[in-house]
């Protein structure tokens, strides 16, 4: 320990610590004394690094690789999207860009997913959901709600990677307990500082990240949750009347999004163990994955593209729950009208109150 002593810094003032014959580490700057074991523990935490390692998931995926049989593959001339469906379903327009698509039977069927959640709501209910979503959106342009436009909504099975893993983590936190009291002359504040470390583990199942570059990640994340209890083994029959997008985003690209979400949740859960302290700040978060697996599934999504002022607005409807997600266009005229109305209305009220209050 003596070799390392010179580099130990005082947790209070960051001045170098000195070993005292009393067995304590002493700070000559602020006169605090520390247990050497605690300072060494703190130092060891600071040196540790943790990283989520998803292991050899690709090999496991490859072992189960099968292709969808008897499918018809379409390629969009405009955006290059590759979608497939069964032989009985005709697709004429791309669900992503609404341009014409061409049929091709030269392409091999896509990778067979490990599971699929069938569409639970039909097209009309999806349209109703979109119309309900528009309600209350006061800045939405009036001509945007045309039902005829909404008829173009298409059901698409969107490829998703589902990440399953246990998270085993240790969080090291600087925590304080504050006590305040007063006498006749002074107000006192006593702050006790602690090094708090909490280790725990938890399991996550099916953290989804969409595997299609055509779908906006934020839109797909906002479309959650899906009820995985209704997941079925894939059967081409589910494609009847719907399109299925092929995954074109490697899991490696999706992993950081899954990691971030799991890490945020794990930290939030572990941090709740420090609720008895006045303040808590995270000094180090050391998380690692246990038994990670990656699954490839298809989830039901209605997709609607609406062109407005030369810009394409895409809406997605959860084909299982009817939840609608999508950025909406904003009417500049309505924005100014609302702003002006509030400016005049609120301004008048405040002016009247000020006049009667201070006259």
């Amino acid at each position: 320990m003596s070799e390392r002593l010179e580099s130990y810094k005082c947790p209070s003032c960051s001045a170098p610590l000195r070993y005292d014959p009393s067995g304590k580490l002493v700070c000559d700057s602020c006169s605090n004394e520390y247990d050497p074991e605690v300072i060494e523990l703190m130092d060891s935490y600071d040196r540790q690094q943790a990283e989520f390692d998803w292991g050899d998931y690709k090999q496991k995926l490859a072992e189960n690789a099968e292709r969808i049989e008897n499918s018809v593959v379409y390629v969009c001339r405009s955006c290059g999207a590759t979608v497939e469906t069964d032989a009985t379903t005709a697709a004429t327009h791309c669900p992503y860009c609404d341009n014409e698509i061409v049929i091709t039977d030269r392409l091999e069927g896509g990778l067979k997913p490990g599971g699929v959640i069938p569409f639970k709501i039909d097209k009309n209910r999806a349209i109703d959901s979109v119309l309900a979503h528009f309600k209350g959106k006061k800045l939405l342009p009036g001509n945007f709600k045309d039902r005829h436009t909404l008829e173009k909504i298409r059901g698409v099975y969107v490829p998703f990677w589902l990440f399953d893993a246990g998270v085993d983590g240790t969080m090291v936190m600087d925590a304080t307990k504050v006590r305040m009291w007063s006498d006749s002359r002074y107000d006192y504040t006593e702050t006790k500082h602690y090094l708090l470390s909490v280790s725990g583990s938890m399991d996550f199942a099916g953290v989804p990240v969409d595997a299609s570059t055509k779908m906006d990640n934020d839109v797909m994340d906002a479309l959650e949750p899906f009820d995985y209890s209704e997941m079925r083994d894939f059967d081409p029959v589910y494609l009847s009347g719907f399109l299925a997008d092929r995954f074109d985003e490697d899991p490696d690209v999706s992993i950081p999004r899954a990691n971030e979400r799991m890490e945020n949740s794990a930290e939030s859960v572990i941090r709740s163990e420090a609720s008895d302290f006045t303040t808590v700040s995270v000094r180090k978060s050391l998380m690692r994955l246990t038994h990670p697996t990656v699954r490839y599934v298809m989830l039901p999504v209605y997709v609607l593209n609406v062109k407005y002022n030369e810009k394409n607005y895409r809406f997605a409807v959860n084909g299982q729950t009817g939840k609608v997600v999508g950025e909406l266009p904003i009417s500049k005229l309505k924005s100014w009208l609302y702003f002006g109305g509030w400016l005049v209305g609120l301004g008048a009220i405040v002016s009247l109150i000020a006049y009667f209050l201070f006259r």
Binding site: S12, C30, N32, Y34, V38, K137, K138, L140, D168, T170, A175, R185, Y186, D187, Y188, T189, E190, T191, K192, H193, Y194, L195, L196, S197, V198, S199, G200, S201, M202, D203, F204, N217, D218, V219, D221, A222, E224, A258, R261, S265, S268, V269, E273, E327, I330, S335, Y338, F339, G341, W342, L343, L346, G347, I349, V350, S351, L352, A354, Y355, F358
Partner: protein, 331 residues
């Protein structure tokens, strides 16, 4: 030659002017530096056995804090002189920026006693003292000897209300003039009322019932655009516009936010219920910090008796020079 004559004439004019000004302004002591005891220039070196006396050629305005112009001092001096001559009382306007360690009550009381401002057989006098000591900016109306009977706590409170607006607005000359008007009215009332007692006074301000009368506004009007009628139309509409701008901006921003997508940043929906368990929890004490802050002090009233109300303080007692009663506020 012409230049020489002009120069001599100017010098002579300046000299004459100086003589006229200084001759007309009696000075307690032309050199206003502290005495050898570290007390103000007018403070006796030895106060033991002090007895009140009648001072001569005393100024009616002693502006040691130098807050008034010469013209203001001259006008105020004329006003106070007329009061002193008409009612035969000792009255002086006094300012200073150093209390020399004394309380404002004691300091102003000593000023009256030690300079011999008292008049008549009972040496009654009163001063309106404006104190600019950095540690205690305040004003006091201090009365000594027979004048203590007139300047009761209720009268002091009314004086405080009378000068409050002007002092807080920084219009000190106006405050002195208001004070002088009040003292003049009070002594006129005393002179014309048989066996006058403070109960005979028609109070415009009382502790319990304050009306809207503001002598500062009535006498001088509010300066710098302030008006007793309340804020101007431009101010009211301007305030409304600012609040309307902020409110409209917030409202439109919240409406626009509804048009955006808010993706989740956690995986809480996918945390398997009951899968979480704490493997280890360790808490090590590091150190303690203790800070203390002195509480803000309440304004204290020195001397015995009296009290305070609405920020006013009233006290009475004995200073080095003799007895006094004093009232005023901080600003």
């Amino acid at each position: 030659m012409k230049k020489m004559i002009c120069l001599l004439f100017s010098a002579a004019l300046l000299f004459t002017l100086c003589i006229v000004v200084f001759a007309d302004t009696p000075l307690l002591n032309p050199d206003k530096s502290d005495n050898e005891n570290g007390m103000p220039y007018w403070y006796p070196l030895d106060t033991d056995g002090f007895e009140d006396f009648h001072g001569e050629d005393l100024p009616y305005v002693v502006d040691d804090a130098d807050i008034m112009t010469d013209a203001e001092e001259a006008q105020l001096s004329a006003k106070i002189e007329s009061i002193v001559r008409k009612y035969g009382i000792g009255y002086v306007a006094f300012t200073d920026d150093d209390l020399h360690g004394l309380s404002p009550e004691y300091y102003s009381s000593d000023f009256l006693h030690f300079n011999g401002y008292g008049t008549g057989d009972e040496y009654g006098a009163v001063t309106f003292f404006l104190c600019f000591d950095p540690g205690d900016r305040c004003w006091r109306t201090t009365a000594i000897n027979s004048c203590e009977d007139y300047f009761t706590e209720e009268i002091m409170y009314e004086i405080d209300e009378t000068v409050d607006s002007a002092i807080r607005s920084g219009d000190y000359y106006d405050a002195f003039m208001l004070h002088a008007n009040y003292v003049e009215d009070l002594f006129e009332e005393i002179a014309t009322t048989e066996n006058w007692t403070p109960e005979d006074h028609d109070f415009k301000y009382t502790y319990e019932d304050e009306d809207d009368y503001d002598p500062y506004y009535e006498n001088y009007g509010y300066r710098n655009g302030r008006s007793k009628e309340g804020p101007s139309a431009v101010t009211v509409v301007g305030a409304g516009l600012i609040v309307g701008l902020i409110g409209g901006g917030i409202r439109v921003a919240s409406l626009r936010k509804k048009m955006k997508i808010n993706p989740p940043r956690t995986a809480n929906n996918y945390l398997i219920h009951d899968s979480y368990f704490v493997r280890d929890r360790r808490c090590d004490y590091l150190y303690t910090t203790l800070t203390r802050h002195e509480k803000p002090r309440e304004p204290s009233s020195s001397g015995g008796g009296g009290g305070s109300h609405g920020g006013s303080s009233f006290s009475s007692g004995h200073s080095s020079g003799g007895s006094f009663s004093s009232g005023g506020r901080s600003f």
